[in-house]
């Protein structure tokens, strides 16, 4: 049972930190904003990094586009092409963006920005569309159904007492098929290769 440690949180304290939003709408605050309002805010607070059309500036991430590319050699994963739930957009924009000024947006501003992000991703097409707590649940993202549960293990598992292959596990002596693309990564020798592509997630 309880040890008598800590104290009860006040409702005001909980309200200050309880900012998460779930797909069923739990956690959405009262508020509303239109695509047009969102565009204004986006151009002021977001476009410098994410691009006017959410296409990404330099190395900053893109927020729109890429629909239908998930099976390409280089998939483009954005809100419209990949994210399952709109609630995640609200939740994340409010808690983490703009980068460097987190939790500075009001609920109305966040609703407006989310509406604009839907517009950039062609999920809504009307600039006068208004997103609010009341209609939030009616918006479904295109890729919602394409997530599956973890089926692992998905490679070899030995039966009890079995050993992995130890001898002649390959028919032919192995040949080298690829060498390191970026030979010298150590920053100190001055000959680092630049921007070989790829990123860390």
């Amino acid at each position: 049972g309880p040890l008598g440690i800590g104290r009860e949180a006040t409702p005001e304290e909980i309200a200050a930190w309880d900012i998460d939003v779930r797909p069923d709408g739990q956690g959405l605050p009262e508020g509303h904003g239109t695509v047009a309002e969102g565009q204004t805010i986006f151009e002021e607070k977001c476009a410098a990094c994410h691009g006017v059309f959410g296409e990404g500036e330099g190395r900053w991430p893109e927020l729109a586009g890429g629909q239908g590319t998930l099976q390409d050699e280089r998939p483009v994963k954005t809100i419209g092409s990949f994210w399952p739930y709109l609630s995640t957009v609200y939740d994340y924009v409010h808690r983490a963006m703009p980068f460097g000024d987190a939790e500075s947006l009001t609920p109305d501003e966040v609703y407006a920005l989310v509406a604009y992000l839907l517009y950039l991703n062609d999920i809504v097409t009307d600039e006068d569309f208004e997103l609010s707590k009341d209609n939030f649940g009616t918006i479904r993202l295109p890729n919602e159904a394409n997530f599956i549960d973890d089926p692992r293990p998905d490679t070899e598992v030995l039966k009890a007492g079995a050993e992995p292959c130890m001898k002649d596990c390959k028919a032919e002596p192995p040949r080298i098929t690829m060498r390191a693309r970026i030979l010298d990564v150590t920053p100190d020798a001055g000959n680092d290769e630049e921007n070989a592509g790829g990123s860390v997630d």
Binding site: Y85, D91, A96
Partner: protein, 401 residues
Amino acid sequence: TLAAGALAARGAAASDTAITELPDWTRYLGEGVATRPYGHPSEFESGVVRRDVPWLTASPESSVSFTPLHDLDGIITPNGLCFERHHAGIAEIDPSKHRLMVNGLVEKPLVFTMDDLKRFPRENRVYFLECAANSGMEWRGAQLNGCQYTHGMVHCVMYTGVPLKHILNEAGLRTNAAWVMPEGADAAAMTRSVPLQKAMDDCLVAFKMNGEALRPEQGYPLRLVVPGWEGNMWVKWLRRIEVGDEPWHTREETSKYTDLLENGKARRFTWVMDAKSVITSPSPQAPLNHRSGATVVSGLAWSGNGRIARVDVSLDGGRNWRPARLDGPVLPRAVSRFYCEFDWDGSDLLLQSRATDETGYVQPSKEELRAVRGVNSIYHNNGIQTWHVRSNGEVENVEVS
């Protein structure tokens, strides 16, 4: 076996002035005690550092720096060398102002100070932490030439913390509680959904690593520990735990940390870090300084599903294997150190290591993994690593047929 040539060459040579001329450190006093109240490594170890690769990310505040695995041994990662993965830089938190809140499906929502948390029963456990994106750059092929970069998003320390179950029981779980959501106090305020069974099993709310307070880069003063599961869930700068009946599908488990397959579907909630190993020496940043004879191959193996059962090493690119020696404590969900000592004939080698854990799971080759996952899943690349060792001792990251 004897390297006959090496022994023959070991006859009398010219005297070494490093011996015959006494060095200054044998003659004269060094610095006294307490000149270094908190010590630091020898200046001769100044190359043993975390490193980043600037072009990998948009900004250093949302980025990674890698553990120098090639320079380390044993199973403990020194605190100052643990890899970093931040999304809004390092929060510098005043512990006297830090609070932990528990709310949601609880009898009583609670707030704790750091002093409060130290009144709960606590535990000490050695656990690895691996980011699911570790080795992510290597999915398509051999990319970065060094195990610090190919495998350096892993570390292993002893955590001291309160089992999360004690804290949840203090608040009292409602009967429909099924998930918990840890949340960070940094400017990324990261959140993840953790199933209640895991939370009540072995999760810790930790405040120490390797005996001292968490480092700021590792979440000072408080972080979540989720043994064996992907590092992203081990929320740093932990400020809140919400209890709920459904997952939250946060950005870090939807946009990120889902594994996109060839067929366009994406796996979600891929929590466990499968068994994995890597040879840390020799490796591209740790070439061999001799040309033949007694040679030590050293590496790490770990599994989120428990203990490592065995590690095998191949010198010929995976065609033939020999068992390596697991050395020191072999602890569940911690790294294990393995060694393979052999008599090198000086010829080219294609070194590989392959871990098997206590469930019987065998570390797959990269080809086996790609066959199942494609090349765009980004995360959970636990494929076998190959190093090409040349006769001159240099080592390169390669792939083999």
